[in-house]
């Protein structure tokens, strides 16, 4: 009887967990990136698979590519996937996707229809990054081989992550972030953008990674702005940096500022800022207040102002404040006037803090946002001038 009880417990625990997917590691093809394009009415699905054998010592010199790309077309993504399995010797494993690339043209048509496919598979985790291929097809991006990191996908992800923190000119967005924005009220998603520099055909060849300057490279430079599920445009340089500052995604970003009219510049490294913004409704007309506070380290200084006097440091701080202000204004201009899409979450603030009134304006929020007045308050503090005080040009110390 006792044994029977134990058996019942064991049998139930075996059958009720649904964990029967026994598959040996060398029988799966690890997919690192998925590309989605739309051609007419058909979907064009491409997958990038790691050539695991290549990672071992014995095979590292072998004349095989690091990754293999399979692609197929179909009326649904599932159908395309089935067609891929006709080619692949192993079962495709989607559990470790690092990146899903969507071609620009496809993204402009809307991404909602792909998202369903991406959410439904329970093997797939949701923290891969969603990337838009600027001006190219996703299929092309997957085929480019890149140096340094052995896997092109990890290489690209690392580029995006590093760029977001240091330059701030692009923004790393996971699929989860995009989903959250897509379902949130009063907020539109942004995605990372990858651009192919050089000839696509050259980039597909193994020779590409043997050059000191690869002929074809992948760079991450823009931030893709969505309106709903449709890509509407890209934020570039300062506009992208502003977005990252407002979304608190920067850390160690370098900001250069002019210190007089004669093209003399200094620059500071910005620590993670404290950002708060408030949106207010008055007579159903919104207005916003943005507050940014941060500390910075002087990294580069070629100005005439003597840094030994503390009031001069204050002056420099004022200059930085002004610069940040222009950066933010740039971002606001792009999002408000050019694309008319609230990617910063001013609407979300209203939704969360003034729910009653939000209902009245929800429908026309994008319109209201594009004309929304705002105030910016920037407070920077230089707490470190580096290992020297005055510029070297003036004799240092």
């Amino acid at each position: 009887m006792k044994i029977l009880k134990i058996l019942i417990v064991l049998v139930f625990s075996i059958f009720m967990t649904g964990c029967w997917q026994y598959i040996e590691l060398n029988d799966i093809a690890i997919v690192t990136a998925v590309g989605i394009d739309k051609e007419g009415k058909e979907y064009h699905l491409s997958v990038q698979i790691v050539n695991a054998k290549k990672q071992t010592k014995d095979y590292s010199a072998a004349e095989e590519s690091l990754v293999t790309v399979y692609d197929a077309k179909g009326k649904t993504l599932g159908e395309a996937l089935n067609k891929i399995s006709l080619e692949s010797p192993f079962e495709l494993y989607f559990g470790h996707i690092d990146m899903v690339v969507i071609g620009e043209a496809t993204a402009r048509l809307g991404i909602r229809e792909y998202i369903d496919f991406l959410i439904r598979d329970r093997d797939v985790r949701k923290n891969y990054s969603l990337v838009v291929a600027k001006e190219k097809k996703a299929f092309d991006v997957l085929q480019i081989l890149t140096p340094l990191e052995t896997l092109p996908t990890i290489n690209l992800i690392n580029i995006i992550k590093t760029a977001q923190e240091t330059s701030g000119y692009t923004s790393y967005r996971s699929f989860e972030d995009v989903l959250n924005c897509l379902y949130a009220k009063g907020k539109h998603p942004v995605v990372s953008v990858v651009e192919i520099i050089g000839d696509v055909e050259e980039g597909k060849k193994g020779d590409n990674i043997y050059e000191t300057i690869p002929k074809t490279r992948l760079i991450a430079k823009y931030v893709g702005v969505f309106k709903g599920d449709k890509l509407v445009g890209f934020l570039k340089d300062k506009a992208a940096l502003g977005l990252n500052i407002l979304r608190k995604r920067v850390n160690n970003s370098v900001i250069s500022f002019p210190c007089n009219d004669q093209d003399d510049y200094g620059s500071v490294k910005m620590d993670a800022p404290k950002v708060s913004f408030k949106t207010k409704l008055k007579n159903n007309q919104p207005s916003a207040e943005i507050k940014i506070e941060f500390t910075a380290t002087l990294t580069d200084y070629n100005c005439a102002i003597n840094l030994k006097k503390s009031e001069n440091i204050k002056k420099i701080e004022k200059m930085i404040d002004k610069e940040i202000k222009t950066i933010i204004e740039e971002t606001m201009k792009e999002t408000q006037k050019t694309y008319k899409t609230d990617v910063l979450g001013f609407g979300e603030y209203l939704y969360q803090n003034d729910y009653k009134n939000w209902g009245k304006i929800e429908k026309k929020w994008d319109q209201l946002f594009s004309n929304m007045p705002y105030k910016i308050e920037v407070k920077s503090k230089i707490n470190n001038t580096g290992s020297t005080t005055n510029p070297v040009r003036q004799g240092g110390t």
């Binding site: 964990c19 040996e24 590691l25 799966i28 790691v50 695991a52 054998k53 990672q55 559990g95 093997d123």
Partner: protein
């Protein structure tokens, strides 16, 4: 008990007949005190010098002296030997004779004398072989019963230390003594142990583990509920904590009962080093225990079922190493585990001079060549190696051997169920352990049930426990180690 007759020839005939006229029984007859005196001893067990220089010489020098009427009483008082006993029955006679005592038989008297003449049949006190320490006493128990008792007693010169002797084994007549400190130990426990020991009915006690197995309850369990140790200092420490030690004749290992699961991770050295350093070592021991139990199964789980549980880069690396291995991972793991067990077992049995040959074959041929031949993957060798190394960190072979079975159970559970299997097997093991009792004390104490006062030597040891407090689970009285704090 059959009494001895007056006629000595009758006794000698009896001895000759019972022993089958065995050549090791020496019977020497000499004329002395106007009568015949027989000296009987079992040659391999006796010290010849004692017989020659004391017994024979005494009889030779005094054989003319006949003033005394009671010859037995006379010899007993005059013979220069430290232990002489009077015997009046056959049972005692045989026991003494076969233990190495010399029997002095005087014709016409229905009593005889047994004189201590046993030879020391051991190699002396040697350093501990199985339970090494860096700091602390090095001596280990020997095969000699009296020495073993002495090794404990010289550490505890306390009149409260009780030694209750039993003679067990119908044929082996082995001395078994139960040691405890009377004013610390739980009297009920002592009674229980004494009862169980006196109920033992067996022909021979060959080793102390016989006694332990016979008196403990968990015969169907792989984990041991008694501690067998060869270190007298371990026995002393346990006695001080109110435990009971059993010392068995002709055995190098003493038994300590009751024992808790956590105590297999403690060593006597824990008391000799600073507590902070000991706790560091203990953490390492627990980690090693977990590693040796679950690492092969977790590896199998993540490579065959739960690919999502490892970082992508590691997955690629695992996948690369698995490429070309013909067997399923579970077969690979079992193959390597069994190979290691064979290696370990043969290393144990092989004469020391052949040991190096074995290790060369084991390490190079089996490890390196198997990987190069593509039979097993490198990562599997690493996994089994870390499992094997970690499995040897606890000195108790009882625990090490117990873990082996559970490791296999974990492996099989994982091979069918993935990570769920690891958790199921783990659950099963915890259920099994918590159902065990060592002489009425829950095996998983002081954690299940939780005994807060005893956490000072649970996972970690504290200075308070080291110097001030006894183990409250077993020490029922005098729980303070220093007299300074109130009783």
């Amino acid at each position: 008990m059959k009494k001895l007759p007056k006629n000595s020839t009758e006794i000698i005939e009896n001895i000759k007949q019972k022993t089958g006229n065995s050549s090791d029984i020496v019977i020497k007859t000499m004329a002395a005190f106007d009568t015949y005196v027989h000296i009987i001893f079992c040659e391999p067990m006796c010290d010849r010098i004692i017989i020659n220089e004391f017994i024979l010489e005494f009889l030779e020098n005094n054989k003319k002296d006949v003033k005394e009427k009671d010859l037995i009483k006379y010899i007993k008082s005059k013979l220069p030997a430290h232990k002489i006993t009077k015997i009046d029955n056959y049972d005692d006679l045989y026991y003494n004779l076969l233990s190495g005592f010399t029997i002095i038989l005087v014709d016409g008297i229905n009593e005889c004398l047994s004189v201590e003449s046993r030879a020391k049949l051991n190699s002396g006190i040697l350093p501990s072989q199985a339970e090494m320490v860096i700091k602390g006493p090095k001596d280990a128990f020997t095969e000699d019963y009296q020495t073993n008792l002495g090794l404990v007693m010289k550490r505890l010169k306390d009149y409260q230390l009780r030694v209750k002797e039993h003679v067990l084994g119908r044929r082996s007549q082995t001395k078994v003594s139960v040691l405890y400190i009377d004013d610390i130990v739980d009297p009920i426990l002592v009674q229980k142990v004494q009862d169980k020991i006196s109920k033992i009915d067996i022909d021979a006690i060959v080793d102390s583990n016989y006694v332990a197995e016979l008196i403990t309850d968990n015969k169907k369990n792989v984990f041991s509920d008694y501690l067998s140790t060869e270190r007298p200092d371990v026995v002393t420490l346990h006695l001080l904590n109110g435990k009971i030690a059993i010392i068995v004749e002709n055995t190098q290992y003493a038994i300590v009962i009751p024992v808790l699961f956590i105590e297999f991770f403690h060593t006597s050295e824990d008391y000799y080093h600073k507590v902070f350093n000991v706790n560091y070592t203990r953490i390492i021991r627990y980690i090693a225990f977990i590693i040796t139990l679950v690492v092969p199964s977790v590896y199998i789980a993540v490579t065959t079922h739960n690919h999502e549980a490892i970082p992508p880069k590691l997955l690629v690396s695992f996948s690369a190493q698995r490429a070309g291995v013909p067997f399923p991972t579970i077969v690979e793991a079992l193959l390597m585990l069994i190979t290691f067990e064979i290696l370990k077992e043969s290393d144990l049995r092989v004469p020391k001079s052949l040991g190096s040959a074995l290790s060369i074959v084991g390490a190079i041929v089996l490890g390196q060549a198997a990987v190069e031949a593509g039979i097993v993957s490198q990562i599997m060798v690493i996994v089994i190696a870390i499992t094997a190394i970690s499995g040897l960190i606890v000195s108790s072979t009882d625990l090490v051997y117990g873990i082996r079975w559970w490791r296999i159970i974990f492996l099989l559970a994982t091979a069918t169920l993935g990570l769920i299997g690891v958790f199921l097997a783990n659950l099963l093991m915890i259920i099994n352990l918590s159902s065990m009792k060592s002489f009425g004390i829950p095996y998983l104490a002081p954690f299940a049930p939780l005994i807060l006062e005893n956490q000072n030597n649970g996972v970690f040891i504290t200075n308070k426990r080291k110097f001030k407090k006894r183990d409250v689970i077993t020490a029922k009285r005098n729980q303070n180690r220093s007299a300074g704090i109130g009783q």
